[in-house]
């Protein structure tokens, strides 16, 4: 079995982690790779932490859920706590630097911890609605599982009908995604060695 990239996305309902996970998996599938995406669901889906599991590989994928992610992204305080169990010594843990009071709860066993100001960037430089697209850019940047261009194509496929009506939205989304890639790269630069 070849290398499988395992991604966990955790956030509050409405932050769009499920659609990001779905789009990434679909983009990988379009690239001809094996992809599997499963949302957590159940009663906690309403008002609880929303978790998405994505696996991308060149060979057959095993169980839909897994114990340790290569990339774990947490977008709220509760999501940090909930997703820490998927962190191992080779995990890159990405969280939003705007989350307050989680410093002491970050999974210190992670291979790398990258705080990124995604919420703030979305609000200030773009629009709060493209927050999840910035996160998608961050995942693409951190994993390299799919080329940025395929990620854009996948978004185009999903939102193309909206872009047709408002071409400005296309630029906004694509720029936001590029910014996500940059945020991760910048955060990685400041990693203490």
């Amino acid at each position: 079995m070849g290398e499988t990239t395992k991604i966990v996305l955790a956030g509050e309902g409405g932050q769009g982690v499920q659609s990001v996970a779905g789009i990434i998996a679909e983009a990988a599938n379009e690239e001809g790779r094996q992809a599997l995406y499963i949302p957590n669901f159940g009663v906690e889906q309403r008002g609880g932490v929303s978790v998405a599991y994505v696996q991308i590989s060149d060979s057959i994928i095993g169980s839909p859920k897994f114990q340790t992610g290569d990339i774990v992204v947490a977008l709220s305080g509760r999501a940090v706590r909930r997703s820490s169990r998927y962190v191992g010594s080779n995990t890159t843990f990405i969280y939003d630097s705007g989350i307050e009071g989680v410093e002491g709860e970050l999974p210190r066993n992670a291979g790398m911890i990258l705080p990124i100001p995604a919420i703030e960037t979305a609000k200030k430089d773009f629009h709060p609605r493209v927050f999840n697209i910035i996160i998608m850019g961050a995942v693409v940047g951190a994993t390299g599982v799919i080329p940025l261009e395929s990620a854009k194509e996948a978004v185009e496929k999903k939102l193309g009908y909206k872009f047709e009506k408002q071409p400005k939205l296309r630029e906004l989304n694509f720029k936001a995604m590029e910014r996500g890639v940059e945020l991760v790269a910048e955060a990685a630069k400041y990693q203490p060695v």
Binding site: M1, A25, A35, F41, G62, P64
Partner: protein, 361 residues
Amino acid sequence: MQKLFENEKKAFMTGNEVVAWAALAAKADIMYGYPITPQNEIMHYWTRLAPKFDKKFLQTEDELSAGFTTIGGVMAGRKAFTATAGPGNTLMQEPMSMAEMMRLPTVVVVQQRGGPSTATVIYSQQEVNMTALGGNGEGLRIVYSTSSHQELFDYTIKAFNTAWKYRFPTFVLGDGYQAKMRESLTLYEPESRGINLIEPEPYLGKAGVPGVDRPPAQFRNTFSMEEELYELLMGYVKDYEKIMPEVAEYQSSGVEDADLVIVGHGIVFRAIRAAVDTLRRRGLKVGYFRPVTLRPLSIPQIRELTAGVKKMLVVESAYGQLARLIKEVAYGGTAEMLTMYRPGVGITAEEVEAEAEKILK
């Protein structure tokens, strides 16, 4: 009817959507259903697709009714099916027991959730007892346990053919993970792969005078004499035993030289296969055996296995429901039977690997 796809089509979708497409590909005529998580979207997709292909749907007031109307559909000569889960599957056993008594080719798709009772809406392999052995009666039924979206598609199509060929209630046993996850598969027109779809025929209302032009249509589920029931049932049992070798399916690998054979079904098999691959690459003599049909099981192969290998490990997201079926067949074999039970929770490749290592140490 218009073609579903030009022979083949790659798709990336949820398992529930796969089932709806497969039922269409199998030329099912009607679905009867009552909503329950995690299978709801089978209904949703079917109701969205059905009108385009001149198919029907009826929502009933509960699963008892969904099962009995499926029986009605079948008796009228329609390829009818339903889908359910958990407590819905419990209710479904009453009509399916009737289908067993009357030898009706009903098709039921089950997406297992946690139990007992309402429990979780998420996932388990705890509906094996119920789906394989059913309500009152002898469990004369056929159960396919799938492990991927491709299989969900393949075996849903196959279930209709199996049901109408052998006239035993037939089940496709998935689970909440398979229902909700998305992965790729190839959709196809069965005919383009040389699969002949069996035409349904009515049980009732056939042409001609009953008793003169044709045998009378008498399908009973009530008897006043013990012997009458016995005679009929023993005929069914004989039929069932005859078709067992034809119907039973399994998949195995690396069992010939194995010190340990890991046994599991459904989605858990994926974890087992991944674990066995890793352990083999590390030089450990581990193999797997996976029953595709849980009812009937591949009896000769299981007997051979349990007579030949030293240790077997049954892994399941239930507390011994698969193990009980396997052990019954394996009785008399010399293999030591070990178990890894995780009722109602998913099992990862890493966990199976760790358990196997512990055993082989």
